[in-house]
Every structure is written in C-alpha cells, then in structure tokens.
Amino acid sequence: MTKVNELMKENSGKQFEITRVINAPRELVFKVLTQAEHLVHWWGPKGFPMDVAKIDLRPGGMFHYCMKSPDGFEMWGRFVYEDIIAPERIVFVSSFSDAEGNITRAPMSEIWPLEVHNTMTLTEHEGKTTLTLRGGPINATAEERQLFEDSFANMQQGFGGTFDQLDTYLTTL
C-alpha cells in the first residue's frame, strides 16, 4: 500500500464534532442557518462573497452555494438535506461541487471524503442556543473506492495539481 493510500485509510474513519453556545434564541439561529437572505451575510470567510444558487429546505432538497476568492477563484459546495425538524435538527450530506451541483473532489485534498454526513442540533436554554455539529465520511461504495484508487494512481504521478489548488484554498480558510 502506498503512503497516500495509508493516509486515506486513516482519515476515512474520522469523525468530527464542534459545539458552540450562541447568544440568540433557537428560532432565530435556525432561520439564519436556513434562509438565503441571512446566509450570504456570514457563511463565507470575510472577503469572500457568497452566492446561494439554490436552497430547498426539505428532505432530498439541495443547498447549493458558491464562494469567490478575491482573485476570482470560485468554490462551489452543496448540502443535500436528509431530515429537517425546525428549529431543532438539520441532517445533511455535504460535498464540494461544481457549478451544476455535481459532487466533485475537494479543491485542496484528494483525501477529503467525497461526502460527509452531518447532524446539526440546536437546543435552547435561557435564551441561548447550543449548536452541535457532528460529521463523518459516508462509507465509500465500491465505485467510490475505485474512484479513490484511481485518483491516488494519478496522485502518484504528481502532487502538483492538488497543491496548486491547495494554495488557492488555503487563502479561504
């Protein structure tokens, strides 16, 4: 097994969790998380204008957005909602995408999972909202694994392309 494959294997099982107590009522937090008119004001890093191409808040619906770096690089992403219980829970699958909404590899890493399953929960206590986001890669299907392996074969010929995009991406972090 190549080193790159080993890295991939190690990363593929990792889970992510972040919690934040927000000084706002839950109804408002939910609104700001799910409405385009609000999302554009905070979603992207500062200096990266964000466009909501589509937000269809229902199971199976898609949130499709674009962030533009100051040098004009466009980065698209999408969520596909799985379950929505307003205002307490949003379950969604996030991916990087192209302008048409098709899933793409992350611009900065071949090892980033194609699809991440996320569960966001909001609980309210004394006017403050605790937001918890848990995420983990979706188990790769045989096709996805093949895709992984193919892209690693390409990587072995050169890390160049990935690094070029990594540069651009890092400026967005």
């Binding site: 990363n11 972040i18 927000i22 937090v29 500062k46 090892i111 991440v116 937001l131 990594l166």
Partner: protein, 111 residues
Amino acid sequence: MRRDVFQAIADPTRREILNMVAYKSLNVNSVAEHFDVSRTAIYKHMKILAECGLLEMKQKGRERYCEAHLEKLHEVSDWVEQYRKIWSQRLDNLEEYLQQLQTKNELHDKS
C-alpha cells in the same frame, strides 16, 4: 523563523521538487538540473523543504540524495482538522451576524 508544511508547499518550485522525488529518491544535482534557476536557488528550496520535514538529504558515497517524507502531508490532508477550521470560522461569523441582527432589532423595537 517557523516553517510549516503549508509554507513549504506554497511555492511552485518546491512543489515541483517534491513531485520529482515523491516516489523515488534522486541525486541532488539531477534535481537541480531540471530547473532553469540557479543551483543555489534550488538548494535553498531543498533546505526549506528539509526544515519542514518533507525532504531528507542523504549522503550515499560521494553523492547526495533527496528523499521525500510524505507523512508530513498529514497536516494538509487531515480533513477533520480542515473541516473544524472552516466551521469554527463560520460559527464565529454566525455569532457576529446574530449579534448585529439582534442589536438592530432592539433599536427597531424601541423606535
């Protein structure tokens, strides 16, 4: 000066050097010959890569070889860390926006 992996691979020449030696170590001179810039400039890049732990210079007989250490790319490829950074910053922005929104609403309510 602190060197990290991100800094190391931010430069196209250094990425090219890493590409060349990623899967087979090469003689330092033959790497340098591949580039149009001076040998000194290439050695400088190699030194930076070495300081970041991405490259190792090994003496074999009379020749010096470069060997890549891709494990260090963990820092770049660890998606959980990157994901956390993105969301952490995003939630900072969210909090700030909600703060503004609520201050505005309070003003509204009073007027």
